[in-house]
């Protein structure tokens, strides 16, 4: 019992760390106005609450009601070159749930007009949501892979700099992430315990995900593939579960159609289909870009070694094809979102890739923790750990400052690598030493995450983030 309480306290401690790093300078960084979507979502919610009419920024030609206006929230026009914003109504670019959360929160805090939706107010709910995602990543890992993976995934997902900064942005993807994780948790528990209420839970969150953005359809795709994996073929059992899942989730998704029809079904359908004409800016090199060029917004790149490692490990998992369903779930979720990303992709805005990240971190954490607990793939685990720590150190000190530690690094890393390879060939195991070594490397990697996050302020943003 005490053991369990301590574990819960550790999880809560990690959640608190995740919350505190997300809260630091959240109203300034990412720079306000670099994505006016953040305001648009909130305006849709605020206008819905105040007038019953969703009003937001779009630019689709299909809108009949169009106004060009300067709305200088947070004085962003004094920081960034600004064209007038194209305001449309009834705004149907996306479902309204995220707007209702951020705009509703602004309304409760006294917002009356669009200029009142300042980032110090509207970003608060999204920070809570992205912190909940950290908790859900840990819950999923705990249920499926044990406590160590849960802790590791929570620490990584909670502190990886790019993920922390992305978790402050009002983008629907940040709300789809906890929904997808809830679906994954619900389905894991359904497979384990065979209780219908876990399938219902998964279905409810699948439906909710589509009320944030249509790419929430990833949850449907994931459940389809997961049930197919579970039953191995489209048989009676598969249909029994999948049709029940659809019966619960589809009505929730259908609420968007009902909402859209309030303002005219013709307008709703026009806007919905105009999405298909979006510029496919992610281009044919989208897969390479996914792995090598992580972005926060359109132009802000912040390569994240945790995510790159996650992709590399995921590719290895794909080749290896895990046998157990619990090992397969994160891979299936990743592939489901990849399908959605390729299909729905438009401009290479960073936020379209956010939902990949918790899945990659789950897969990476599982891989690392297997090295720790079962000494599996030790050389690879060590190499990944060194790659992550090395990249994190390089973000903190340049190559000239590093020269002080260069000998220690090259002798240490090459020496350990030689020993690990030799131990592997001789099939000898030195578990305690290896565990201590990995713990040290991971602790240092998390510490360097925090240290880098601590350095990020407005000046750093402009000078160091390309």
């Amino acid at each position: 019992m005490i053991n369990k309480i301590i574990k819960v306290l550790i999880v809560l401690g990690i959640v608190l760390i995740a919350l505190s790093v997300r809260k630091k300078d959240f109203a300034q960084i990412p720079i306000v106005g670099q994505s006016t979507d953040e305001y648009s979502y909130s305006w849709v919610g605020l206008s819905l609450i105040k007038t019953g009419m969703p009003i937001g920024i779009s630019g689709f030609e299909e809108y009949q009601n169009k106004y060009d206006r300067y709305i200088n929230v947070d004085r962003y026009m004094q920081v960034l070159p600004s064209d007038p914003l194209t305001i449309n109504y009834p705004w149907m670019d996306h479902p309204p749930l995220l707007g209702l959360i951020t705009g509703g929160y602004a309304y409760l805090n006294g917002a009356d007009v669009f200029e009142d939706t300042v980032s110090s107010i509207i970003r608060k709910p999204i920070i809570i949501i992205s912190t909940i995602s950290v908790l859900l990543v840990m819950v999923f890992c705990w249920i499926n892979f044990g406590f160590l993976t849960a802790v590791l995934s929570g620490l990584i997902y909670g502190t990886a700099p790019l993920i922390v900064l992305s978790g402050r942005m009002i983008q629907a993807e940040n709300a789809i992430i906890p929904c997808l994780l809830m679906v994954m948790i619900g389905l894991s528990l359904y497979f384990k315990k065979k209780r219908d209420y876990w399938l219902i839970l998964a279905a409810i969150f699948a439906g909710l995900a589509t009320l944030f953005k249509l790419t929430g359809v990833v949850c449907y795709l994931f459940v389809f593939l997961a049930l197919l994996t579970k039953y191995k073929k489209i048989n009676k059992d598969f249909w029994k579960d999948f049709s029940f899942f659809l019966a619960v989730s589809l009505p929730i998704s259908f609420l968007f159609v009902i909402y859209g029809s309030v303002y005219g079904l013709g307008n709703f359908i026009n806007i919905l289909f105009s999405n298909t004409n979006r510029f496919y800016g992610i281009g044919s090199n989208l897969l390479l870009e996914l792995i090598q060029g992580q972005r926060l917004t359109h132009h802000k790149f912040l390569p994240e070694v945790w995510i790159i490692s996650g992709w590399l490990v995921s590719l290895a998992y794909l080749v290896k094809k895990p046998k157990k369903i619990k090992e397969t779930l994160p891979i299936l979720a990743l592939l489901s979102y990849l399908i959605v990303y390729i299909l729905f992709g438009s401009q290479p805005y960073g936020w379209y890739t956010f939902p990949f990240w918790p899945l990659l971190i789950i897969i990476l954490s599982r891989f690392l923790s297997l090295g720790f607990t079962k000494s599996k793939n030790l050389v690879s685990v060590f190499l990944f750990s060194i790659m992550i720590l090395g990249a994190n150190i390089a973000r903190l000190i340049n190559v000239f400052e590093f020269q002080t530690y260069a000998n220690f690094w090259r002798i240490g890393v090459s020496g350990i690598l030689f020993i690990l390879i030799s131990l592997g060939i001789l099939k000898l195991k030195s578990k305690i030493l290896i565990k201590l070594l990995l713990l040290f490397l991971w602790a240092a990697a998390i510490y360097t995450n925090l240290k880098y996050l601590n350095n990020i302020n407005i000046a750093f943003w402009w000078e160091n983030l390309s």
Binding site: T51, I71, F244
Partner: protein, 157 residues
């Protein structure tokens, strides 16, 4: 769990919820939404925004890509500071000198009366503002200059 029983109750609840959303929103938007409410939301003054009395403190960055459909607004201060902005004219409902300056004051966040109270000297395309010019629609690609003191040179460096 009896799935059939659950789904019957679930669908009843769904019908109640969706009807409430449909009719509730329809009635609510009919009663609350109008042009005035729309304008108030879009260009209403924010209670959270700081206002300034230093008209050279803030400027709007960038040049809108609108061909000649723009207006330049420059404020020149005695201490050598300046605030130079260019706006797309299409974003101004009232395209007279008075209307544009009023909207500029809202965007930048200052009290428009300061200009009169502190005797700023303003010109439209280098022509001194009089009551007739103030009420006439400005031409495309016009420039409004306001000087803290008449005769102040444009510190263009």
């Amino acid at each position: 769990m009896n799935r059939k029983k659950f789904l019957i109750i679930y669908f009843i609840l769904f019908i109640i919820l969706s009807s409430s959303i449909y009719f509730g929103l329809k009635i609510y938007s009919k009663n609350k939404f109008n042009q005035q409410a729309l304008n108030q939301l879009m260009v209403g003054k924010s209670k959270f925004r700081d206002t300034t009395t230093d008209l050279c403190k803030y400027q709007s960055l960038g040049e809108p890509k609108v061909g000649k459909d723009y207006i330049k607004i420059n404020f020149w201060c005695d201490n050598g500071l300046k605030a130079r902005s260019t706006f797309a004219l299409k974003a101004f409902d009232d395209q007279t000198y008075d209307g544009i300056l009023k909207e500029y004051a809202r965007i930048i966040g200052f009290d428009i009366n300061i200009i009169k109270e502190k005797d700023w000297y303003c010109t439209l395309n280098d022509e001194e503002i009089n009551s007739k010019i103030a009420q006439t629609q400005v031409e495309l690609a016009s420039t409004i200059d306001c000087f803290e003191t008449k005769g102040l040179p444009k510190n263009d460096k």
